[in-house]
Amino acid sequence: MRVKKKINLVLMSCIATAVLLAGCVGNSTNKPQNTSPPSPSQGEGQKEEIKLYENGLPQDEKVVLKMGLWESGSGREWVDTAVKAFSEKYPNVTFDITASPTLSTILETKISAGDDKDMFDLFTPSFSSGDQYVRLANAGKFEPQDDLWDRDVPEEAGKKLRSVISDDAYEATLAFGYTTRMPLGMYTAGFFFNQNLFDKYGWNKSPGTWDEFVQLLEQIKGDGIIPITFPGVYAGYLTDYTFNMVQFDLAKANGNFDQYMDNFRNFSGAQYTTAELKEAWNRIYELGKKGYFPEGVAALNHTQSQMQVLQGKAALVSTGDWVGNEMKEHTPADFKWGFMAIPAMNDAQQTIFVNSGVADVGFSIWKEKPELTKKWAKEFLVSLYAFDIQEKLASESGTYPIRLDFGQDAARIAKLQPVQTAVMEYAERHNVQYISTRRNFYPTSPEAGQAGKLVSEMITAVATGKKDPLPVLEEAEALLQKALEKEDKQQ
């Protein structure tokens, strides 16, 4: 009896160990596949029996689309609506959605793991930094979506998708030589403010020149309010979204914009020490010396800086147009969103560049996926161009829809959230050009990281007038050039 008991005990322990080991080894082998890839070897006779939808895809093959959704300030309601409509139309297609505000951590882990089966079929390309997306795009990891440009817009036969997209957006999607994501919406960034506060103090809500802009800041400070705030913990909100635009304004005014932009996108020539960028930094420094940024700005996080504007402690916050949706629970009833960008020149007719993710709202499809899965994922993307989904994108997620013809109907325009309306109003008053600050590649050597760190660390010090930016820019430039040299040698 005792021996039997012991044997049982040992056996049970072995089984427990085996189960544990099996758990550790992974679940990919035992898990049923989420999709049924089309079988090219299916007999000709069988083909006749397959019922097809109008899009040519089989009705009987069940497909589960694994979606990774970045649940940002824009929420997920618009996606839920789209998914519901799509699954009702195509009942064989269902969705397995993983939505997270920190999708990048899931996404990057899955990609690093290198298990294509486990990877999302389609996903918001939300990475911890923009350079990750560029690298993956250049490495051809995304399914090209170029074939969708010739597809008809949902419920509007004959109207091609390409025809409802601006040239800017189209070019931006082709930045890596192929369409990595069909653009669904765009965001803009700049200074956001409370129009009612501006009205109360009689401040200029739409300065058209640099002098007017500086005069506005002086007035605001004179009235005892912080002119400009930003999250110092992530200080790039000030440079990336507003002051870095000044270099493009200046290049445009100097007549060398195209060359400047080409150098910028491809890391050709000087990057941190161009006359235009030095001037942009110098302006932050000069404004900092005048005390136009909060003294303890380095301690402010994203929410704290935006709250300063909602509470009327600061006049302008440098952020993106998601601020409206993100802060809607805390926005007072008497608050009316306004928008402005920096007019770098003293010419009222100047081009004012506004930071924009022209084609940044959309889904990418992972290339190493079964063909049928990818086809259904593309069908889903096309369905997102329907007006009711674009309207939802505008009204619920606070995103500016990508369709050009969206603005042809006043009823649809009325569905835009106040922040997007404010951006649109600003663009009507000024000669605005939207610009994306994407690069075509990113150097990876440690010197490049060090250069970026040098620059990002000085932002709060420059903005409080404590540090002259020029020596730091020189040092960063030397490091970056060294990194680029290394990059050339390796290639």
């Binding site: 040992v10 301690a299 010197e447 390796q490």
Partner: protein
């Protein structure tokens, strides 16, 4: 005949002993295998792999380039590494001392003073240990807030107008401001450890000392602390190693700012691997190797200058 019987008996006993020994090994194997395997898979394997990663120029997603010892060469020339280590050094000098001292005092008081609320105090002190680092970080970020922060409010009550000073917004105060939540969050666990260690010291030692006229402070320094030496030593090891590799508070409260004044080596490594601006897993792994060497060195130094003393009572 007897010899034969004896021989058989010995053989049977030998076989029996062999069986017991085999069973013991099986039991040991079954008991140890899961945790050993877990350790090999999830601790040792990734760490060994990091050595390989440290020789790469790799963003973590696309193809890696082998760069030999370039990352290590660059690391020793990287001023951010030395700056971060300097901040770590400052923290190592201050944080363990404060945590151990405060924990000892609190533990001594809770053991020797018969307050009615003793058990409540124990819970209260331990409570900080239950809170996640993120909660502690957010709590203290609000305390240090310039406009609405509790600290400026309290100082205001005493007539000190801080003029909306942001404690985490100045490079001269930010690092020291972080020491407070580090100590506050760390004390709870060590109070509990010291309370238990103190209560294990035989009362007879104190009674004998009392009979000989020893004062409480004499008993503290001549009996309690010497007998706690080995416990304190273990605690110091934990706190020092934790202070060297910890960075969660900095990540949430300052992200290394302002102007890098709160950047520590763990945070620098983390941001290189997972940060918002730049990614290089290879370089981050090289820094991870350096961190590993520093941790081993710290343990060695503690062992050398604070040797373990076994006390029996």
């Amino acid at each position: 005949m007897n010899a034969g019987l004896n021989g058989q008996g010995t053989k049977a006993r030998y076989r029996g002993l062999q069986k017991v020994s085999r069973q013991r090994y099986i039991f040991l194997f079954v008991a140890l295998a899961p945790s050993l395997l877990g350790y090999l898979l999830f601790t040792l394997y990734p760490n060994v792999l990091s050595i390989y990663y440290s020789l790469l120029d790799w963003d973590g997603l696309t193809d890696a380039k082998f760069v030999g010892i370039d990352n290590f060469v660059h690391m020793f020339q990287d001023k951010f590494v030395w700056r971060a280590l300097y901040h770590n050094l400052l923290l190592i000098v201050v944080v363990p001392v404060l945590i151990v001292l405060i924990s000892l005092v609190l533990a001594y008081l809770l053991n020797n003073k018969t307050y009615r609320e003793n058990s409540l105090y124990k819970v209260v002190y331990f409570f900080t240990n239950v809170l996640s680092t993120v909660v502690i970080a957010l709590l203290w970020a609000f305390i240090y807030d310039g406009s609405f922060g509790l600290l400026n409010g309290i100082l205001g009550i005493f007539g000190l107008d801080m003029n909306s000073f942001y404690w985490l917004g100045s490079s001269s105060t930010a690092l020291w401001a972080l020491v407070v939540p580090m100590v506050w969050g760390g004390v709870g666990l060590y109070v509990v450890i010291f309370i238990n260690a103190i209560s294990a010291i035989p009362k007879s030692l104190y009674e004998a000392a009392e009979l000989e006229g020893a004062r409480p402070m004499t008993m503290l320094f001549r009996i309690t602390i010497p007998l706690l030496r080995s416990v304190i030593r273990v605690c110091v090891v934990f706190i020092v190693l934790g202070t060297i590799k910890g960075f969660e508070l900095m990540l949430v409260m300052t992200n290394g700012g302002p102007e890098g004044s709160t950047d520590v080596i763990g945070l620098y490594m983390y941001n290189l691997a997972f940060g918002k601006d730049y990614h290089n897993y290879g370089y981050a792994s090289a820094i991870g190797m350096l961190l590993f060497v520093i941790l081993v060195a710290a343990k060695y130094i503690i062992d050398k200058y604070y040797p373990e003393e076994k006390v029996e009572f």
